[in-house]
Symmetry: C2
Subunit: 299 residues, 2 copies
């Protein structure tokens, strides 16, 4: 399998409110240096709600850059895929809200969302690649934008240390050079469905239901269980990934794991990749690759 | 464009709590007969939470039927797409929750959601068709399940009359006969993004934020504006739909509009279809075609 599809424009945006780990440590009452030691993260970017920043505004900022860099005009986009890791609102889909903010509310441009939580971006990318290869759409704008800082108030310290707000957007088109999507593999192990979750904000635990607790509405993570699951499933994943892949580990210039924590990134050295191959942007958080390519996981 | 893809199994489920329009009229303090006259709906099916019914349980009921009717075993499914109209919970995606309930938590079967609100099912169907045609997946299970009754408490009377709980599921595979997906068109007009919406339950208006109001967390609809938008955009939609379609209006045995209300269905007679062609299941609400095929719309 390969698809003659390439990225012809990309954009990124982060919240303007910089929060240093030191600041957060003071607020959470933990030892100075604890966060960077545990996670590798020095500072993070939150949306500033006084400036009307949100997942929506960050997504648009990234999308406008992506369109501009693609050399296309907004009207050339014939499909918008929203690929947020969590909803901006329950209805309608994020893509249609992005469409409106881009001033395309009467354009009719196709809008839909693809959701695999943290993995939404690569999955949306792959869905778009299938459609471009089948001549359904020509220029697909994929926008991934999240502002979890809006829901960190009563979450655990681990979550609070790791999460911040950013967006990335890409315009995808048929390749004009040798760029290709060579191989794609997704594996979902729902044994981990409760390891990272927001159990509320839907019809199972509706926000207005008196039985829904405030903690149901925020992100919960059991980092240790996620890590153990990764250790369990990653070898199986890589075996399968390379089995039907024309390329070997050495052929990859970069692999970009889910940018969660230092530990969650360093683990890829166990699976035959060198330190130089493994993308790590934790210390340079302005590089919004959080959603770009993530190598497996628990959705 | 066509894809050699067919439905090899289907299933459906509804909530077990039957609510007659008469009952609802009494509760809402409106004239007897008002609901059926305005909407065409006699009765509706809500999930019974005392029996642990939910969008999740309905989805599984429909999925198990679909798999059984397909003649496949659960292990033959290699992709699950969640196509709910609104989230069951914010994280993870519905497909992974369905996977777990089907006892496939260690299977690794690919799971993702496709969301265009009411239109999620046909869009997910089309995404699956693209992937089956490209030999990515062989047997795709698409599940569409919603339980809006869980959030109807403080909504308007119109919404309360129209919405109820049901699920549909389909297994899609490569065609073994002349069945095909011949043509597909989606158009999104986000000018209508606020006509039907739930503004809460995401990072724009988080459930725990004191500025989020209870009414932000429930479905809002301005039925008149939706109807006017349909009248405005449908002729453009059909012109485009039939322009590149090998078939004409007469060739279709059935068209199945979004099963909203009598008025919203009868309108299709204006666009060159006969009464006999237009699917109308409002009086037979156990036929869960609500999400099956809908001919346009505002996402």
């Amino acid at each position: 399998m390969y698809f003659n599809v390439q990225i012809i424009g990309s954009g990124k945006a982060v919240g303007s409110h910089v929060v240093e780990s030191m600041e957060l440590e003071k607020e959470m009452g933990v030892q100075r240096g604890w966060i960077e030691k545990a996670t590798g993260i020095k500072s993070r970017y939150y949306v500033d709600i006084r400036k009307n920043e949100s997942a929506l505004s960050l997504g648009i900022e990234a999308a406008e850059q992506a369109i501009q860099k693609s050399g296309l005009s907004t009207e050339d986009i014939d499909c918008i895929i929203g690929a947020n890791g969590s909803p901006m609102q329950a209805i309608p889909c994020a893509a249609s809200l992005f469409q409106r903010e881009l001033g395309l509310e009467d354009s009719g441009i196709r809008c839909f969302d693809v959701d695999t939580t943290c993995y939404s971006f690569p999955m949306a990318f792959f869905v778009a690649a299938n459609m471009i290869a089948n001549n359904i759409y020509k220029n697909v704008l994929v926008i991934s934008s999240d502002a979890p800082s809006r829901t960190l108030d009563i979450t655990g310290k681990e979550v609070k240390s790791l999460f911040w707000d950013g967006a990335a957007a890409f315009v995808l088109s048929e390749s004009k050079d040798e760029s290709k999507v060579h191989h794609f593999l997704l594996r979902t192990y729902s044994r981990g469905a409760d390891f990272t979750c927001v159990k509320g904000a839907g019809t199972l635990k509706p926000p207005n239901d008196p039985n829904t607790l405030p903690e149901d509405n925020v992100f919960y993570m059991d980092g240790w269980k996620v890590f153990k699951a990764a250790v369990r499933y990653l070898p199986i994943f890589f075996n399968e990934f390379f089995e039907k892949n024309p390329y070997n580990r050495d052929d990859y210039k970069f692999i970009i794991p889910h940018q969660t924590s230092k530990k969650g990134i360093d683990i890829f050295e166990r699976y035959g990749f060198t330190k130089e191959q493994i993308g790590n942007h934790l210390k340079h958080t302005e590089t919004v690759l959080l959603h770009l390519f993530q190598c497996c996981f628990m959705t």
